[in-house]
């Protein structure tokens, strides 16, 4: 049977090592484009938060604080499982790799479940921006703006999570087919990098949306 590493080596590369390093570099560059994508939203959010601090705190007080905190812990656990999956791949333990991938996927789904429950509760509280939004406070326009950014940023994050779930499922599928070994597991590492990055974004989202108004409840 042909060597799996030789099969995985694309024709433009000289060695498996060059291919591995190039893929890693490519993934990191992709991640900094993601930093700038979310960065634009963080910049806009910061400008408005600075201009209307009271209204943004009021918006923050309407967050489901404990759901957000638990969700942060949930996502950190899924990131840990992902790190363990990469670790297992490096050791060539494909059984454990599959197990940790499944755990990562399931915990990610728990996160999304909690997130969409929150969305439903906001909808129920008439906090969905647009014609359904209802707020009687004098700062209503800016409270609504807080929610615009909340839905925009957490929505974009959730969208990344869903793509991540897809990537992880594909990686799991390839693991079960036996595509990875101690010597070739680059796709697992790249999927891991993406997943951890998405986790990092959430850490900041939790800090800017949930914390400032939490004491006002």
């Amino acid at each position: 049977m042909a060597d799996p590493i030789a099969l995985a080596l694309r024709e433009q590369f000289h060695s498996a090592e060059q291919q591995h390093e190039t893929s890693t570099v490519g993934m990191w560059i992709f991640l900094i484009t993601e930093v700038m994508l979310f960065g634009g939203l963080f910049t806009a959010f910061s400008v408005y938060r600075m201009s209307h601090p009271a209204a943004f705190d009021q918006g923050s007080a309407d967050m489901e604080f404990w759901m957000g905190a638990v969700n942060t812990a949930v996502l950190i656990c899924s990131s840990f499982c992902m790190a363990m999956a990469v670790h297992s791949a490096e050791k060539g333990k494909n059984g454990r790799l599959a197990l940790f991938l499944i755990l990562t996927i399931l915990i990610g789904l728990v996160f999304l479940g909690i997130k969409f429950t929150e969305y439903y509760l906001h909808y129920h509280d008439q906090k969905l921006p647009g014609i359904l939004f209802h707020d009687t406070s004098p700062d209503a326009a800016y409270v609504q703006m807080f929610f615009v950014f909340y839905f925009l940023m957490t929505g974009l994050h959730a969208f990344h999570m869903i793509i991540g779930e897809g990537i992880l499922c594909a990686t799991l599928f390839r693991t079960l087919l036996g595509s990875f070994s101690e010597r070739y597991h680059t796709p697992v590492e790249l999927a891991g990098l993406y997943w951890h990055f998405v986790d990092t974004v959430w850490v900041f989202l939790f800090a800017i949306f949930y914390i400032p108004g939490a004491h006002m409840k």
């Binding site: 498996a16 090592e17 591995h20 390093e21 890693t24 570099v25 990191w28 560059i29 991640l31 900094i32 930093v35 700038m36 960065g39 634009g40 963080f42 910049t43 910061s46 400008v47 938060r49 600075m50 201009s51 601090p53 604080f65 905190a69 942060t72 812990a73 950190i76 656990c77 990131s79 840990f80 992902m82 790190a83 363990m84 670790h87 490096e90 050791k91 101690e182 010597r183 070739y184 597991h185 891991g192 990098l193 951890h196 990055f197 986790d199 990092t200 850490v203 900041f204 939790f206 800090a207 800017i208 949930y210 914390i211 400032p212 939490a214 004491h215 006002m216």
Partner: protein
């Protein structure tokens, strides 16, 4: 091919540290720190993000190139946000309307 693999112990410590920091952020959120709750929240988030990047994402064990790329991304984001906020912060510093 794989760089010096990070030990399970390191991952476990990172996990515990991250969960502890999450708890700390949450508790801070319940106290009225005024303006500082936002700043403290973001600062702790930055620490957590570095932990994830360094250990879960192996940044500490990667080549110099990767670290430069990572630093570049963060610096560029900071350039964008600081020059933009710089405009808003210095509005009204001059004794003329609209300046």
């Amino acid at each position: 091919m794989s760089q010096s693999s990070v030990s399970v112990k390191t991952y476990a410590f990172t996990l515990i540290a991250l969960l502890a920091l999450t708890l700390l952020t949450s508790l801070l959120g319940l106290v009225d720190l005024g303006k500082f709750s936002f700043i403290a929240g973001v600062a702790i988030a930055a620490v957590k993000a570095s932990l994830i990047a360094c250990f879960f994402m192996h940044a500490l064990y990667e080549t110099k190139l990767i670290r430069v790329i990572m630093a570049g991304g963060v610096i560029w984001f900071l350039v964008m946000i600081s020059l933009t906020l710089g405009d808003y912060l210095t509005r009204g510093w001059m004794p003329y309307p609209g300046k």
